[in-house]
């Protein structure tokens, strides 16, 4: 599902919402949309690349692999808004693990290290049923 708001008019609320099933193959689609949104906000290709990486990373963490996520299966919702800042909110039901399993191949890679390193403005919010990642960049 892809729904668009008013794109491109500087200073107006701009929003796009993408909802994907928890299929790792679909994360690339979200990255492409995020890059397009970032490119509309600025012509800086380094910034576009950073947004593509960060949004893809956030989405991948919530899509999960091999049962990383617990709780009810459901879509991953990605909302992108431009209003002086580029703000991306990624939401999914369930809780994502803070740490890798000791036997995991990704043991040694702290799952949030990349996002925390990429962004100054990054928040993780969890309640009983939903995990929300909020990413924000000044424009």
């Amino acid at each position: 599902m892809l729904s668009g708001g008013r794109l491109g008019a500087t200073g107006t609320a701009t929003g796009i919402t993408v909802s994907i099933a928890r299929d790792p193959a679909l994360v690339r689609t979200v990255r492409l949309v995020a890059a397009a949104v970032a490119r509309r906000a600025t012509g800086d290709e380094d910034f576009v690349e950073e947004v593509r990486l960060a949004v893809g990373e956030a989405c991948a963490l919530l899509v999960g692999t091999d049962g990383d996520l617990t709780g009810d299966a459901g879509p991953v919702l990605v909302q992108m808004m431009i209003d002086r800042r580029l703000r991306v909110v990624v939401t999914a039901a369930g809780a994502v693990a803070d740490h890798d399993a000791p036997t995991s191949d990704i043991d040694g890679v702290e799952p949030w290290a990349l996002l925390r390193g990429l962004l100054e403005d990054f928040e993780i919010t969890r309640d009983a049923a939903v995990t929300t990642l909020t990413l924000s960049w000044p424009l």
Binding site: P24, A25, V27, R28, R31, E49, R52, L53, G56, E57, A60, L61, V63, T65, D100, S104, D105, I106, D107, G108, V109, E110, P111, A113, L114, G117, L118
Partner: protein, 112 residues
């Protein structure tokens, strides 16, 4: 873009030339290739990432997992990467200090 993997032997090492995107979808393919090579007794690996367009933490995890596998057999894993956007990812995650990252296949193979 999908992930492409080509392997060849050179100077006692197995070079894996990786192309495309290493992400949550494609990383298992790289993990399986590394597992297959180690299972075949190939413990000195060189991962050439010059044609990699995208790398996320899932891909990093596969590389870390591969490094652990070869080290368990006293082997080595060297990376070839010149792309600043990828090198930045290794630096941010602290993995630039974990991996031997070289600028070319010649440099990677020259290390003793």
């Amino acid at each position: 873009m999908d992930l492409s993997l080509e392997t060849r032997q050179e100077d006692g090492h197995t070079i894996i030339e990786v192309g495309g995107e290493i992400d949550v979808y494609t990383a298992p393919k790289l993990r399986d290739k590394i597992t297959e090579l180690v299972g075949n007794g190939e413990y000195n690996l060189v991962i050439d990432m010059e044609k990699v367009d995208f790398l996320d933490s899932t891909g990093l995890g596969v590389l870390v997992g591969g490094l652990k596998k070869v080290r368990a057999h006293d082997g080595s894993m060297r990376l070839i990467c010149n792309q600043e956007r990828l090198l930045k990812i290794f630096r941010i995650t602290g993995l630039a200090k974990v991996f031997a990252i070289h600028g070319s296949q010649a440099d990677a193979l020259a290390e003793r």
